[in-house]
Structure formats: C-alpha cells, structure tokens
C-alpha cells in the first residue's frame, strides 16, 4: 500500500486572532501555527493502515509561508516514512483550487493506492481540498470518515452522518478519503524524536506551477462576526462567579 497524506499547518485558534491592516486577512506575524487537528487524525489512520496491511506513508504539504517543516517532522515522528513539500515563490492568499492542483500534480506522480486528507481545516474556506484533489485526480472521494480498513484493492469506510448514524461504503482503490477521526486517538510523538527527524530527515521538494488558474473567490472583507447578542459576563473571582452562577440557577428553579 502506497499511502499519501496531505497535511496543512493552520493558525492556532487558541490564539487571539488579529486582522491585518488591509482588513482582508489575519495578521500572520501575530499567530502561531499548528498542524490541522484533522490531519493528525489522517496521519494516525494512515499509520494504522500501514501497520495492518504493510506499505509506506508519505506526507505532503504546500509550504505557503515557510513554516511547514516542523509539521512534516512531527508527521515523520508519528510514523510517516517520507515527507515532501511544494515550494516556490508563494505569497498567501493561495486559493484552494490552486493548492489542490499543485497537490494533485505532485501526488499523482507518487502513484498512490490511497490518499488521505483531513476532513477540513479550521482556518479558511473549509473542507475543499480533499474533494478537489479527488476531482483533479479523477478518483472517488468519501469524506467525514471515522473508520477505514483495506483489503484486496477495496477500502471499507465508515462515514458519519448526524445523530451518531454512520453509512458503510466500499470504495475501489485508488481513492481519496477525508478523515474526521482515526480509529484510535493519534499517537504522541516525543519532542526528542521530532528533533531527531528535524536533523536527519530529507524533505523532497516539488516546485509549484505558478500558471494554474484560481478559484474565482475574492474575499471582500474579513471581520469578527457580528452576533445578535452577547453573554452577560459575570465579574469577580472564581468564588464570586461560582456564587453568582448558583444564585442565577436557584432564581430560575434550576437548582
């Protein structure tokens, strides 16, 4: 099994997010980057399939702002065998159609049996790369998947619907699968192993083709959402806040 996982680094949503001076994007100098949480699940699922069926796992990403290496090293420490990045004179924003094309070109050349992506990235116009990749590679796609096993050129996947209902599909390989959750929680990679990867690993590089088209979506304005309302904030220290919560609940007959 030749398994490829597309991974992405995203601004940490745990941080304070600031808008840039042009008002159309985040101020990227002000944020930290982490691996997209669903990609950690995809890496884990890929390694589980490799452990069950044999094969090799390659992780690949578009290095939009030269912050990708750390994420690739982490993936190697978690059990991926090879890592690659798409590089060039890249300037964000780069839309999803373009990134999907670059990924499709590079991944197509790796002749994969199975391509995994995270079901969506938390940052921008979400959840598009997986299905787009499948469309460009002319492969079947199933997303929102929480279980995957492979035998005889066929993947059996569990796709989640609402309310805990799941559908089971059989998918001819090669295929692209969008992973929501791996069958087991992602394994932990010790810092020492990530450091070792950072020293020893070779990252293969692909040059981005700057002549591919664009998605045709222009972001006109980015802002913090205007909400219909806001919670009334309880002031004071934890003791006082606890007191107030209990009072409010008692008033409402909820305690």
């Amino acid at each position: 099994m030749n398994i490829v996982v597309a991974i992405k680094h995203v601004p940490s949503t745990a941080d304070e997010l600031e808008i840039n001076d042009e008002g159309v994007n985040l101020d990227f100098d002000e944020v930290d980057f982490t691996i997209n949480e669903f990609d950690e699940q995809a890496i884990e699922q890929a390694v589980l399939v490799k452990e069950a069926s044999g094969g090799e796992v390659t992780v690949i990403g578009v290095d939009v702002i030269e912050e990708l290496d750390g994420v690739l090293h982490t993936a190697l420490a978690k059990g991926a065998d090879k890592a690659a990045k798409i590089v060039g004179d890249l300037e964000p924003p780069i839309d999803s159609h373009t990134q999907a094309r670059w990924l499709a070109d590079a991944i197509g050349g790796l002749t994969p049996d199975l391509v995994l992506t995270g079901v969506q990235a938390v940052d921008d116009l979400d959840g598009q790369i997986g299905p787009m990749l499948a469309a460009y590679l002319d492969l079947p796609y199933v997303g929102v998947v929480t279980g995957l096993s492979v035998s005889d050129g066929t993947a059996t996947v569990h796709k989640e619907y609402a309310g805990g209902v799941m559908a089971e599909f059989e998918v001819n390989l090669p295929a692209v699968v969008g992973v929501q959750a791996a069958e087991k929680p992602p394994r932990y990679a010790p810092i020492s192993k990530i450091r070792q990867m950072a020293k020893s690993a070779d990252l293969e590089e692909y040059e981005a083709d700057e002549n591919v088209g664009d998605s045709g979506c222009e972001i006109r304005k980015m802002a913090k959402p205007v909400s219909a309302g806001h919670a009334e904030m309880l002031e004071g220290d934890a003791e006082e806040v606890a007191e107030k919560i209990i009072e409010i609940l008692e008033e409402r007959g909820l305690l």
Binding site: H97, V226, S227, A231, L255
Partner: protein, 318 residues
C-alpha cells in the same frame, strides 16, 4: 446560462433533512434578486411523495435504485450532468456530511467557484455576496464569487425552515447518466448503540470540552454534574479521545439537545458544536478566552478558570 438557483436536498432513511427546506426557503428569497426560479433537486428511489413537500418554484426528482441511499459517486455523476444541462446561477448544498463530499468536487468538475461554511447570502446589484464562517467561527469572511455561476454550502439554521415547506408537484425523471460501474458502493447504515443515558431527554446538562485538559479531570465535572442533579455531555474531542462515550456528544455529528440548562466548561463554540445546542433554554459558558465564539450564544459567561469555578461551585453546593 440561466438565473435559476438549484437547492440540492438531502434525505436519510426516507426522511427529508431540515436543511433541505431551509435551502429552498433561502433559494426563493435569492431567486427574486437574480430574476430566476428556485428549483429543488432531489435524488432518490421511491421518494416521489417526499419530493412534493417543497415550496420551490419547481422541483426535479431523479429516481433510480442506485440513488436510494446517498453515494458520493452516484450523486456526483447525476448532479454534474444536471448542472451542465441547466447552467444555474447558483447551486446550494448543505454544509453537511453529504454536501461536504459534493460541493468542492462539483466546483472542480463544473469549473465554478465554491464558498463553503456560508451562513448568509445576499444579492447586491446582481452580484452574489456569500458570508462564510472561518477559523472555527471566530471570523466572518465576505466573498464575491467571480463569474456567472457559483456553488455554496450553507450552514444548518442559516435560513428559516418553514419558508421552504410547501407542496410544489415534483417533475420525476430517470437518471440522465449511466449509474453502472460505480467506484463507490453503499453497503449499510450503522445505527448508534443504545444503552447509555439519553442526553436529549435530560433537563440539565453539564457539557465539557477540550478545556478539561485530561482524562483525570472528568471526575471533577462528574461530581459537579451530580451535585447539580445534571448529566454530563461533551464536545467532540472528548468523545473522540474516548473520555466519555459517543452517546454524550452534542453537535453536528452528535445529537441536538434542548435542555433547560446547558452549563459549558471549556468549550470554544465551534459552529459544529453550536448546531447541536443553540436551542437550549438557558446557557452558561465558562471559558478563559474572552473571544471564544460561545459567548455570542450563551446567556451568561465568565472568563474565570473552569477548574476554579467548578471547585468553588462544588464546595458551595455540598
């Protein structure tokens, strides 16, 4: 090119999903702005009756045994053919498990731009303006898709339900393309395991999220819930980690709850979580991040540490 809007409806187990009616309602509003028709599209088998429940200007129902259950390969083939034939101004999908498989795929196949996670749509001077939720609900981006056709996937609850319910007679047709040799085959539906407490039937829920930090801290939340005569619920990361059973998960891929009280410890308020609890009668959120989106939904909030507040509450209740 037409000025019509296609709303791609969904169903599971013979039941039309609410988002379908919401989209049809939204499509009707927008169709006026474009000067076109709002057309509901349903793919299925033996669903003629359900196909007649929309308030659309027209409904097209494609009937084929291969479409009985959702199948991304079969649905994709049919929709690509319909879109090519009709070249609509706008195609609406739900931002659901089904819609997420199709919207971006069709965007590439049909060469039409796609905006996902849309919670507001408007026509301004003939142009479509789509507002998308990004960064886990912390930011809103206004996009103007270029060209004369676009795809959007809309969030549950973006449009009211009733405006899309009606009785327009559906035009039934056979699949316009062959559905033989599909690379994806539906095998079965797996229903959730019963047995655990049913959180949809509880009056009071204490819901915990990733802020709880580790498995060891669940006990504190459990004690607090008990002291309040409430039951524990959770966000997805907690059930994915196996710290609580899947049956306790609230949200898009979990269950929707409407308790009298929803007390939240360390949940950020991602759109997928809010989808499942926005109708709770009374919501209190404890979250150290003053910018957490959950504070736009909660009635009361505090940015004190959840452990300090939970311990203080426990002490006072005991």
């Amino acid at each position: 090119m037409s000025n019509d809007i296609l709303a791609i409806t969904e169903h599971l187990n013979g039941n039309v999903a609410d988002i379908s009616y919401e989209m049809v309602g939204g499509a009707k509003e927008l169709a006026a702005g474009f000067g076109g028709q709002a057309i509901a599209i349903m793919l299925g088998s033996g669903m003629a009756e359900q196909a007649g429940t929309f308030a659309s200007d027209a409904t097209l129902y494609v009937d084929d045994p291969a479409l009985a259950e959702f199948n991304p390969a079969a649905y994709g083939r049919v929709l690509a053919a319909l879109v090519e034939e009709k070249s609509p101004r706008l195609i609406m999908f739900g931002n659901t498990s089904m819609g997420m498989d199709l919207a971006a795929w069709l965007s590439v196949k049909a060469g039409v731009p796609c905006v996902a996670y849309v919670n507001h749509l408007a026509v301004e001077g003939g142009e479509l303006v789509a507002t998308a939720q990004i960064y886990g609900g912390k930011m809103a981006a206004e996009c103007v898709p270029a060209g004369d056709s676009a795809i959007v996937s809309v969030m549950a609850g973006a449009f009211p339900l009733d405006a899309g319910q009606g009785s327009t007679a559906a035009e039934q047709m056979a699949s316009p393309v062959s559905l033989d040799d599909l690379p994806i085959r539906f095998t079965r539906l797996i229903m959730p395991e019963a047995g655990d407490v049913d959180i949809t039937a509880q009056e009071k829920l204490v819901a915990i999220g990733r802020g709880i930090g580790s498995d060891d801290n669940i006990e504190l939340a459990e004690e607090l819930a008990e002291a309040m005569d409430a039951v524990l619920a959770a966000s997805r990361p907690i059930t994915d980690a196996g710290w609580l059973p899947k049956t306790r998960q609230v949200g898009k891929s979990g269950v929707s709850v409407k308790p009298k009280l929803y007390l939240m410890l360390g949940i950020s308020g991602a759109p997928e979580h809010i989808e499942g609890m926005k109708d709770a009668e009374f919501i209190i959120a404890i979250n150290t991040d003053a910018d957490a989106p959950i504070f736009d939904v909660a009635h009361y909030g505090t940015t004190e540490d959840l452990f300090d507040v939970a311990e203080a509450m426990l002490e006072k209740l005991e």
